[in-house]
């Protein structure tokens, strides 16, 4: 099992200590850990299990149940393309195909330079302005292959969220 850096280990301990007395705290803790570390590393699972008096299997079971939690960090930018019905009705499949070709990756993959992770998402609540995508937490609607291409090319040059400090 990979071990956490001492710095990350103490961050996880601090988060767990801060939140563990909330009722039913685990999801909140996982959100916070992923927010700070970019993912939920296996080493964090062990610490959380110990702090919360749960088995590792239980914590692991929660982490893996939810699509949102990552076990490995994403690229510097995350592009989530909606695959659900309203977006399909206006060409989401073709748009996804374009993005995959543009980036040279499939869904769930990260470009070799670590710049962009491409992911599926199932409805962003923007179904009247479909097709939609979420890029680094920003919603984009009425997307065309050209517009998505511009947005994605813009990302590859741009510094990541971490680097820009935003």
């Amino acid at each position: 099992m990979e071990t956490l850096s001492p710095a990350d280990g103490s961050r996880v301990r601090r988060i767990a200590a801060e939140l563990k007395d909330q009722p039913g705290p685990l999801l909140n803790i996982l959100h916070q850990v992923q927010g700070e570390l970019g993912c939920i590393p296996a080493g964090a699972v062990a610490i959380l299990a110990e702090t919360l008096n749960l088995s590792r299997a239980e914590v692991h079971g929660v982490v893996t149940f939810y699509h949102h939690f990552r076990r490995k960090p994403a690229g510097r930018h995350v592009v989530s393309l909606c695959q659900a019905e309203a977006c399909q009705a206006v060409g989401a499949a073709a748009l996804t195909g374009h993005a995959q070709r543009d980036l040279g990756v499939a869904l769930h993959q990260t470009t070799a330079d670590g710049a962009v992770t491409l992911e599926p998402v199932y409805c962003l609540g923007n179904c009247a302005a479909a097709p939609s995508a979420m890029i680094d937490g920003r919603l984009h609607g009425r997307l065309t292959a050209q517009r998505l291409g511009e947005l994605v090319r813009g990302l590859r040059g741009a510094p990541g969220k971490g680097a820009s400090g935003s």
């Binding site: 999801l27 149940f65 949102h68 019905e85 409805c123 009247a128």
Partner: protein
């Protein structure tokens, strides 16, 4: 005097450039030395007109849209701050044909007020419902909700008043009010619009519920895909607390109510209420076996109200205007209004709130203006990924619970997704199975395994292997899932498949 300009801060409006337009308006005003105040309101729901910019004039609000950054200098030089004519001018948007016939009760403030301002909320009738219900008392409030005929808008359409009465009748030291803001259904965004555009109405609705049943804590379970709504909610909760509408002495009632937002983590099944409760407790979102009902043993084992965002946001209007006034809208057992969400391949998509009982055709063609592609509409899916596909031959069906169920469809959360004649219904059926497989909580075999088998069987049909036999197999599999699943995911995922088989069987053939 400085002008007031409304530019939606709604995520959907942002998705088509509202922030950039706001930036350009601010910049152009500075360049011209015009002083103005920009309010980031919610969206009025006409997404086909977004970004929709409105200015406050002596004659009332005047709208322009859809506005792009390039339009901004021209708008200023045409005098839009005084409501002057321009190619994008729409006049008083409330009188626009798309809005004029709407009956906005639940959405009465959305797109109009500043969602972060308690003062604005109060000016537009906010907290009248809470005040009324505090003076009416708990039992009368629950009775009013029952008499209004309000049924849950999250999908199951259960009478809200009956649920509340059950919680009221439980003797327990701790009760909870929870709001289901997981809005996972494709084609739906009514919750999101309310959360972003009028979050105080949700807070008021939950507060009315809490005081009526004796709950002191509330949770809003919000899907993680809605970061804009999270910000809007947290801002509104802080503002309500500051103004004395949340906390130890709610609106001077002597009662306490604390409210907190908890984020989901990208699991569709967590919209199912017992799965949501598991998730709120910090566990895997596995569906619970019922009984016990959440109203009896819900969150942390205590009596709990679970209601959808739209349901709870309808409560303040009912509490303020009376059960009778609400029940006067609608038909049969579908009382009140329904916020319909028109989406997908449609020219004029968005949110239409009307009394129940509008013909589907009127929605699709009068409001929607037909498909966006200009091709004939072939099918609509109503009620999200577990809802049936309705063919064009049934477009005279009325949009209400009973009429839709009479044609084998269901209303769900009120989303209507439009497809033109290029749709491949066998592929949509496959997608329904794929989605079920992806989102199954894994507790029961028909759902977990059946959905995967369903994909395989449809693949074989598309490959031309044993077509007739596999079609029969698919039908049997659907029956097994419907009958053998614990919850609506496995139990309803076959509905889109069965409806596709019934109405569009010609699509289930071999592909080359």
């Amino acid at each position: 005097m400085s002008a007031t300009v409304y530019i939606p801060g709604d995520a959907g409006a942002q998705s088509v450039g509202a922030d950039e337009v706001a930036g350009a308006v601010r910049q152009e005003a500075a360049r011209l030395g015009e002083s103005l105040r920009i309010v980031r309101n919610g969206s009025r729901g006409a997404y086909w007109l977004e970004p929709l910019v409105e200015v406050e004039t002596d004659a009332g609000r005047r709208a322009y849209g859809p506005v792009t950054v390039a339009d901004v200098p021209g708008l200023f030089s045409a005098g839009f701050l005084r409501g002057c004519a321009h190619a994008l001018a729409l006049g008083d948007i409330a009188r626009h044909d798309w809005f004029a016939g709407q009956q906005r009760l639940t959405f009465s403030r959305v797109g109009i007020i500043d969602p972060a301002s308690v003062a604005d909320y109060l000016r537009h009738g906010g907290y009248q419902g809470l005040t009324q219900s505090i003076s009416a008392g708990a039992a009368a409030t629950v009775q009013a909700i029952t008499d209004s005929g309000l049924r849950g808008r999250g999908g199951a359409a259960f009478p809200t008043g009956i649920k509340w009465r059950t919680v009221l009748e439980q003797a327990a030291a701790q009760k909870y009010v929870t709001c289901n803001a997981d809005e996972g259904d494709s084609g739906t965004f009514a919750d999101r619009m309310l959360l972003e555009g009028d979050p105080l109405s949700l807070i008021e609705g939950m507060t009315i519920a809490a005081l009526a049943v004796g709950a002191t804590r509330g949770y809003i379970y919000l899907r993680v895909e809605y970061p804009h709504a999270l910000r809007a909610l947290n801002t509104a909760i802080a503002a309500a607390r500051q103004a004395g509408y949340l906390g130890p002495n709610v609106a001077g009632s002597g009662k306490s109510f604390e409210l907190e937002v908890r984020l989901g983590a990208g699991a569709y099944i967590c919209g199912e209420e017992t799965s949501m409760l598991e998730s709120l407790e910090g566990r895997r979102g596995e569906v619970r076996v019922r009984p016990p009902l959440p109203a009896i043993k819900g969150l942390f084992g205590q009596p709990t109200i679970v209601n959808n965002v739209v349901t709870l946001c309808s409560v303040p209007w009912i509490a303020a205007h009376g059960a009778r006034a609400y029940a006067d809208f609608g038909v049969g057992k579908s009382r009140g209004t329904l916020p319909i969400q028109l989406a997908g391949n449609i020219r004029r998509g968005g949110l239409i709130e009307r009394a129940f009982g509008l013909p589907l055709r009127e929605l699709l063609y009068d409001y929607g203006g037909g498909s966006a592609s200009g091709r004939p509409i072939r099918a609509v899916q109503i009620g999200g990924p577990l809802g049936a596909y309705v063919p064009a031959s049934q477009f005279d069906t009325l949009v209400d619970y009973e009429a839709l169920s009479s044609v084998g469809a269901l209303l769900g959360h009120g989303g209507i997704v439009v497809f033109d004649d290029s749709v491949d219904m066998a592929r949509m059926a496959r997608y329904a199975m794929e989605f079920c497989a992806l989102e199954s909580c894994g507790k029961c075999t028909p759902c977990r395994i059946g959905s995967v088998r369903g994909m395989e069987v449809i693949d074989r049909i598309l490959q031309g292997v044993d077509g007739e036999r596999n079609l029969r197999l698919l039908e049997d599999l659907c029956d097994t899932m419907v009958q053998g699943s614990l919850c609506g995911l496995g139990g309803m995922a076959p509905f889109p498949v069965q409806s596709a088989l019934k109405h569009f069987r010609e699509d289930f053939h071999a592909r080359r």
